[in-house]
């Protein structure tokens, strides 16, 4: 099985080579991404000039929240989003059938043959903002804190990939999954803000059914020593465990969905 992994870098190479067939469009797309996310950040800055605090969070703290969320999302989504969003199309056109006749893990093939280098734009914006915010927000650094930062970023990345995988896999059963992605992005936009500014019902949803609070609000609040609604002292372990646990759930869900796959047409 392990020698099989050697195929994955080749898949990535082939995908990048395909993308570079359209490299003009590629760089224009990246620029558009940076501008659009930059505009969101600018909006928050303007808001904070007027109100100074949002739910008890100041500008550098919110910039930390924004950049942590953007980085975790772009890392997680680069190994999942476009591939699983397009799974619906692969099912509808029957292309997935051909993939299922190959002696490779279907998920791995799908992910690595579409590894989205297009998230470079997000990362180019997120990393400098994150570094600035970590310094400006006066995080009290310790070894524990540094490990928590790295661990929770990884966990947040896994949460993103796992949730997207679970949504995408529904296309194997229902053929359509885009409506669920619309709901995902609805909640995802909320994760740019502290959890405590939302009504209790939304907080519960974002910590349980749509567990997106773990990609930003929970870990960043822990890092800043701020209280996390509902979770309290459990916030730190929850932020670290959410990723691995959701990955296990996503694997089980993927397998179940594949066993229920009925194809479309033909």
């Amino acid at each position: 099985m392990l020698h099989r992994l050697g195929i994955l870098p080749l898949l990535v190479k082939m995908f990048i080579k395909s993308q570079m067939e359209y490299r003009g469009a590629f760089w224009l797309d990246r620029l558009a991404q940076i501008i659009s996310y930059g505009a969101v950040l600018l909006g928050m800055w303007i808001l904070l000039q007027k109100f100074e605090l949002l739910g008890g969070w100041n500008w550098p703290q919110l910039a930390l929240l924004f950049s942590f969320q953007l980085l975790a999302y772009s890392l997680g989504a680069s190994v999942s989003f476009t591939q699983l969003r397009d799974l619906e199309e692969l099912v509808r056109l029957g292309t997935l059938d051909a993939l299922l006749t190959k002696p490779v893990n279907t998920w791995a093939y799908l992910i690595f043959s579409g590894l989205n280098i297009g998230y470079a734009g997000h990362i180019i914006l997120a990393v400098p903002v994150l570094i600035w915010a970590l310094l400006a927000a006066q995080v009290e650094w310790s070894i524990g804190n540094a490990l928590f930062f790295a661990g929770s970023l990884l966990s947040a990345t896994l949460v993103t990939g796992a949730v997207i995988t679970m949504i995408g896999a529904t296309a194997l059963i229902w053929v359509r999954s885009n409506h669920l992605f619309a709901i995902f992005f609805g909640f995802w936009e909320l994760t740019r803000y502290p959890l405590n500014i939302f009504p209790g019902g939304i907080q519960v949803v974002m910590l349980t059914v749509v567990p997106l609070a773990y990609i930003s609000a929970v870990p960043v609040a822990v890092l800043l020593g701020k209280p996390v609604p509902l979770l309290g002292d459990l916030a730190a372990p929850a932020a670290l465990l959410a990723g691995p646990l959701l990955v296990l759930l996503a694997v089980a869900h993927w397998r179940y969905a594949l066993s229920r796959y009925q194809g479309a047409g033909g």
Binding site: H3, M14, D97
Partner: protein, 333 residues
């Protein structure tokens, strides 16, 4: 002879939400918990031995592709047992995949934006094909299907015929024991169809690759497949040699006799007169055991016979007769 593929009472049913007519019906469809079951394959059994070439034929929606998808491990049968190379395909999908090749006429497995050869290289890695074997197969198949001129061209720049030839070559690079083809000649022009057919017949004959092919094009079956499995409304309705289908149906040969002078009405015992144009008379040879010599000796030499033409029924005619009789029988019940 042991069977490579064994199907025993295989069925596949799809569950669908019940659909209701009209606008109110559409709203009802959204919330209904009622299901209807659609049978795509019902109680189908057959054995396929190593080295056979089998045409799987039937009208749209008869369950051809569903059967291929079950044999390749994509779909799980609802009932019955299916064994391919001694395995249950959906349970050992990956192990099964290593020993089969699959070509979907309407779904490309090549990388659209990259040169053909890049997809082949990936295929080599996925299937662990030793370098020498790969080079050997690539050369041999490329020569046979004349692929060399466009191996380095991006797939999106190829014609449909070129692409399909490349798809078929790719599916054979790892020396599969069985090659499944789902409508491999669909949309191809006459020349490309002919090249594909001759190639498939050759690799079946020379390399002993077992071929299972679904098609609408009866010529595919005539050229490649001595054995025919026919399905209709999810059920198997015929399994055997094409010749046996002809004989069983009595799809008659047609005979045209041309005379120098009109001999008048000429009924024969060995053949049935169907139309009489005077100099040209058309007969049906309904019995398989009647030979042309017997007919000609009955006509005799003194009637001024000038020319003879015998038409074997083509496969389209055979199958049309089959479906017509079936439908007539169903209507009579």
């Amino acid at each position: 002879m042991t069977a490579l593929i064994e199907a025993r009472g295989v069925s596949k049913r799809f569950r669908q939400h019940k659909r209701f007519p009209g606008l109110l019906g559409a709203l009802k469809t959204l919330v209904t918990t009622e299901y209807t079951e659609v049978a795509a394959v019902s109680d189908v059994s057959f054995d396929i031995a190593a080295g056979e070439a089998v045409g799987y034929l039937g009208p749209n929606g008869a369950g051809k592709s569903t059967m291929i998808k079950m044999m390749t491990g994509i779909l799980v049968p609802s009932a019955g047992t299916l064994s391919v190379l001694g395995r249950t395909p959906h349970q050992e999908r990956m192990a099964n995949a290593r020993q089969i090749g699959v070509v979907f006429g309407q779904r490309s497995q090549l990388w659209w934006d990259l040169p053909v050869v890049d997809s082949f290289t990936l295929h080599q890695r996925i299937y662990d094909i030793p370098a020498a074997r790969y080079a050997d197969n690539l050369k041999r198949f490329s020569d046979l299907l004349d692929l060399t001129p466009f191996l380095d061209r991006a797939v999106r720049q190829l014609s449909l015929g070129q692409r399909m030839r490349a798809e078929i070559v790719m599916s054979l690079l790892h020396d599969p024991k069985i090659l499944f083809l789902d409508e491999p000649t669909i949309g191809l022009d006459v020349v490309a169809k002919d090249a594909v057919r001759r190639f498939l017949a050759e690799i079946n004959r020379e390399r002993g690759v077992t071929i299972i092919l679904t098609t609408h094009d009866l010529q595919d079956i005539e050229t490649i497949c001595p054995r025919l499995i026919m399905v209709d409304h999810s059920q198997l309705i015929f399994d055997g040699e094409l010749g046996r289908l002809r004989a069983a149906l009595g799809s008659a040969r047609r005979l045209t006799l041309e005379f120098a002078t009109d001999p008048g009405p000429l009924p024969l015992g060995t053949a049935t007169l169907t139309s009489d144009e005077g100099l040209l008379k058309h007969y049906l040879l309904e019995r398989e055991d009647v030979s042309l010599v017997q007919v000609l000796s009955e006509v005799g030499s003194e009637r001024g016979l000038k020319d003879v033409a015998l038409h074997e029924p083509d496969i389209e005619e055979v199958i049309r007769t089959f479906y017509q009789r079936r439908n007539a029988a169903a209507a009579a019940q």
